[in-house]
Symmetry: C2
C-alpha cells in the first residue's frame, strides 16, 4: 500500500469533511492515519485548511504530522500562526526538527519567539542553533536515552520505561559517567537478553564509536553507515555526550548530499528545497551564475578559432568536424569527472598517480578505438589524408579529456574545495578549448606533410 494510493483516495474525503465542518471526521483523519501519510495528504491543501484539520487533534499529534511536512511547507504553515501558538508548536517539536525550522525563519523571528518558550527548551534551542550548518551539532537531537553504569538490568528497564515516551530512540542506551562523560553503550537487545541482576557496567561496550559535535554531516553519515548503527552518539571535545544522530536523519543526509553532487555535476547551484517548491527566480539565479561563467569560458574557443582563420579558409571542410572533435573530448572528460567525483564522495582513497595511470590507459584504449571509428566516419565526407586528421585528433582529444576530467576533481579536492564543483559543463568547456588547439595543430602538421 503506497502512500500515493492513500493520497488520491483521501484528499477528496478530507475536502468534503472540511466543507461540512465534520470535526469528528477530521479528528479521525489526524489520529487514525500514520503521521507521514496524513502529512502527504495535507500537502494538497492550502495552509489555512491544514490548520483547520490539525486543530482537531492533540498538540503532540499535530506536531507528529507537522514534522513530516517538507521544510518549505512548514515555513508556509507557521506564517499563519500567531506568536503564542507558534511557541507552543516549537516547544513540542523534537529538538533537531525544530532547529531546522527555526534556522529557516531567520534570527529576528527566533529572537521574537524565544521569550515565549519554556526555559529548558529555550537553552536547548540556543545551543543547537549555535552549531554551524551541516555539522553534527546542527543535525543531532538531544533526546537520547541514558543511564548510569552502576545499576542492574532490572533497574535499567524500569528507568527506561520512564524515559521512553520522549526519547527519539531507546534501542541504543548511552552510559554516562561524571559530567555526562560517554563511558559506554548498550543496546536494548542486549539488555533484554541479559540476566535481570547483571550490572550495566559488566554488559556495556566501552569502545564506543562516536562523532565530534563539529564533524561534517557527511562524516556522520559515513560513520553510521559503516557500522550499520541505528544512531551514533555526538560528543564534545571533553568526550561529553551532547546528542545523537539517528538512522532516519542520516538517510536524509545521504539523499541531500547525492542531490548536491548531482546538481553540481549538472552546473546548477544546489537547491535547498525540491524543484517544484523552489521559486523560479531562485532557480534562474542558481543556473544563471554558472551559465555566465561558462559563457566566458566558451569565449576561449572563439579566440582559438579566430587565430586559425587562415587554415579554416583554405580548408573549409575542417569546420565540419569542429563540434564532433570537441564533443569527443568533452564526453570523455565528463565520464572521467563523474567517476572520480563519485569515487571521492565514497571516500575511496584515490591516489592521484594511480588514477592518472588508469585514466591514461582507459583514455588510450578508448581513444584508439574512437579515433579509428572517427577516421572511417570522416571518409564519408573527405579524402583519406584529411580523414587521418580527424582520426588522430579524436584519439588525442579523448586521452586529453579523460586525463583532465580525472585530474581536475582531484585538484579541487586537494585545494580543499568540493570536487563536484568541477561540473560536466565546465570540464567540457575546458576540453573544448584544448580540443580546438589539438585539432588545428594536428591539421596544420598533417596538411604540411601531405603537401610535401
Amino acid at each position: 500500500m503506497g502512500a500515493a494510493v492513500y493520497h488520491q483516495l483521501l484528499l477528496p474525503d478530507l475536502k468534503q469533511m472540511l466543507a461540512e465542518d465534520d470535526k469528528a471526521g477530521l479528528a479521525e483523519f489526524c489520529n487514525a492515519l500514520y503521521p507521514p501519510v496524513a502529512a502527504e495528504v495535507l500537502e494538497g491543501l492550502p495552509a489555512e485548511d491544514v490548520w483547520r484539520v490539525l486543530e482537531n487533534c492533540s498538540l503532540s499529534r499535530q506536531v507528529e504530522i507537522f514534522e513530516f511536512l517538507s521544510l518549505a511547507e512548514q515555513v508556509e504553515l507557521v506564517d499563519k500562526l500567531d506568536r503564542k501558538r507558534l511557541s507552543r508548536l516549537v516547544e513540542e517539536m523534537s529538538p533537531d526538527d525544530r532547529v531546522d525550522l527555526l534556522s529557516r525563519l531567520g534570527p529576528e523571528r527566533v529572537e521574537n519567539l524565544l521569550p515565549l518558550i519554556a526555559q529548558a527548551e529555550r537553552s536547548d534551542i540556543r545551543k543547537l542553533l549555535s552549531f554551524p550548518e551541516q555539522s553534527a551539532g546542527a543535525i543531532m537531537t538531544t533526546e537520547y536515552a541514558s543511564l548510569p553504569a552502576d545499576i542492574t538490568v532490572r533497574d535499567a528497564l524500569d528507568r527506561l520505561r520512564k524515559q521512553a515516551p520522549d526519547r527519539e530512540t531507546i534501542y541504543y542506551i548511552f552510559i554516562l559517567g561524571e559530567d555526562r562523560r560517554l563511558d559506554g553503550m548498550i543496546s536494548l537487545r542486549d539488555l533484554i537478553l541479559a540476566k535481570p541482576d547483571a550490572k550495566l557496567a559488566d554488559l556495556m561496550r566501552r569502545d564506543v564509536i562516536s562523532v565530534r559535535v563539529d564533524d561534517d554531516q557527511e562524516h556522520v553519515a559515513q560513520e553510521l553507515a559503516r557500522y550499520d548503527f541505528l544512531a551514533i552518539p555526538v560528543v564534545d571535545s571533553q568526550n561529553r555526550l551532547v546528542g545523537i544522530v539517528t538512522h532516519d536523519d542520516v538517510l536524509d543526509i545521504v539523499q541531500e548530499e547525492a542531490d548536491e553532487d548531482a546538481y553540481r555535476l549538472g552546473a546548477v547551484e544546489p537547491l535547498e528545497d525540491s524543484y517544484l517548491e523552489t521559486p523560479l527566480l531562485t532557480i534562474v539565479w542558481k543556473r544563471g551564475m554558472w551559465l555566465v561563467l561558462l559563457l566566458f569560458a566558451a569565449l576561449g574557443t572563439s579566440a582559438v578559432l579566430s587565430r586559425y582563420e587562415e587554415v579554416s579558409q583554405k580548408n573549409a571542410w575542417l569546420i565540419w568536424f569542429v563540434p564532433l572533435v570537441i564533443a569527443c573530448g568533452g564526453n570523455a572528460g565528463s565520464q572521467s569527472a563523474t567517476l572520480l567525483i563519485r569515487a571521492l564522495a565514497l571516500r575511496e582513497s584515490v591516489g592521484s598517480l594511480r588514477v592518472v595511470g588508469r585514466e591514461l590507459a582507459a583514455g588510450f584504449s578508448l581513444g584508439l578505438f574512437l579515433g579509428g571509428l572517427g577516421f572511417l566516419l570522416a571518409l564519408l565526407y573527405v579524402p583519406r589524408g584529411h580523414a587521418m586528421i580527424i582520426g588522430t585528433t579524436v584519439m588525442l582529444v579523448v586521452v586529453m579529456g579523460a586525463v583532465t576530467g580525472a585530474m581536475l576533481p582531484i585538484l579541487f579536492k586537494r585545494l580543499g574545495m568540493d570536487p563536484a564543483l568541477m561540473s560536466n559543463p565546465l570540464i567540457a568547456s575546458l576540453s573544448d578549448i584544448l580540443g580546438l588547439l589539438i585539432y588545428y595543430n594536428v591539421a596544420v602538421l598533417v596538411l604540411r606533410l601531405l603537401a610535401a
Copy 2:
C-alpha cells in the same frame, strides 16, 4: 575515532602478528574490534593472509567481519576456500548478504555448493535467488522476529529472548496469523512500555505498511524513508510475510541508486563495484559504448555544417562562435535535465505541462540575459549587425536547451525507461545539432536583412 585512524595504526601491528604467527594476538584482533573496523583493516592484506587472521576466531565472528567486506573483496576471498569451508561460511551468513555473494559467484558454482548446505538454508537460498535483481525479494532477509497475536506481553518478551540471537532486528516484531499472514506489528519500545498482562492483539498496529516481494528496491527505500522505519515488512500476493528489509540495507540502496544516476548523467554505464575495484577493461567497455553512440550523434553536426558551407565561406567569422553558441544550449540543457532527473528520482509528481511552463519561463529569463551578454562579448570580435546574430542565437539556443533538457527525461520516464539514461552528454549532442540549425538560420535571415 574514525576508522581511518584505526586502519593506519593497526595494519602494521597485524602484519607483524602474522609474521610472528602470534595466534593469541590475531584472535584478539578479531574479537576485540568492531567487525567493520576489523574488515577495513583486513582489506589491506592479500586474500591468503585474511584467512590466516580469521581462522583464529569462531565461525560466527568470521562471518560478522566477512560481511562487512565489499562484494568484490568477498568474491576474491571465497576463491581461496574449498567447497566444504565455503559451505560452512555460506550457511552462517545472513540470508540477504549470502544471496548477494552467491549471485556474484554464478549459477554453476552455486549448484555445486548447495548439496553441502543444510536443507533449511538451502531452500531459503533457492527462494531468495529466484527473485529478480533489485526487487524487494532479492534484498530482504528472512531473519525477522515474529509472534502470534494471542499471547501476553510477558510471554512475548520470553519468546523474543529465544528468537533474538539470530534475528536481524528484534525492535520491530511482526504479528502473524494463520499461514504466516501479516496481521499486525508492534515495536519493542511499545512492548517494553506495555503492561505485562496485556495481549499483543490489543497493542499491535493493524494497518501495517508493507512492500510487495516484487517491488523495485527504489520503492522499498522510498517507503522506509518516508515513514522513518527501522525495517519494512515484505509480503507476497496473499499478504503473507516473507521477509524484511532493514534500515542499513536501505542506506546502501540509496547510495547505490544515487551512484547509478550520477554515472548515467555522466554517460557511463553504472559500475557494480567501486571505481578502483572495477577492472580497467570493464570501465573501458562501460564508457566506450556511450562514447560510440555519442560519436554517431555528433555526426549530425557535421551534416548540418557541411550543408551551410556557402554561408560559412562568405562569412568566415561565423565559425568563430560555433562552439560558443552550441555550448550555451548544451549547458542549459544539462541543467534542466539534471533538475528533472533529480526531481523524478525523488518521485515529485512532475506534471509535464507545469514543467514545460517553468522551463520556458526560466529559459527565456536566462536566454534574454545570456543573449544580451553574448551580444556584448561578440562586439569584441565583430560589428554590431553580426553581434546581433550571436545574441539572438544564444537566446534561442538557451530556451531550446532548457526545454529539450527538461522534456527528454520526462519522455523517457513515460516510455518506462530510466530518465537518467538521458545523460548530460546526450542532451548536449542533441542540442548541438539543433543549436547549429538555429544559428545558421538566424544568420541567413539577419544577413539578408542587413543586406537589404
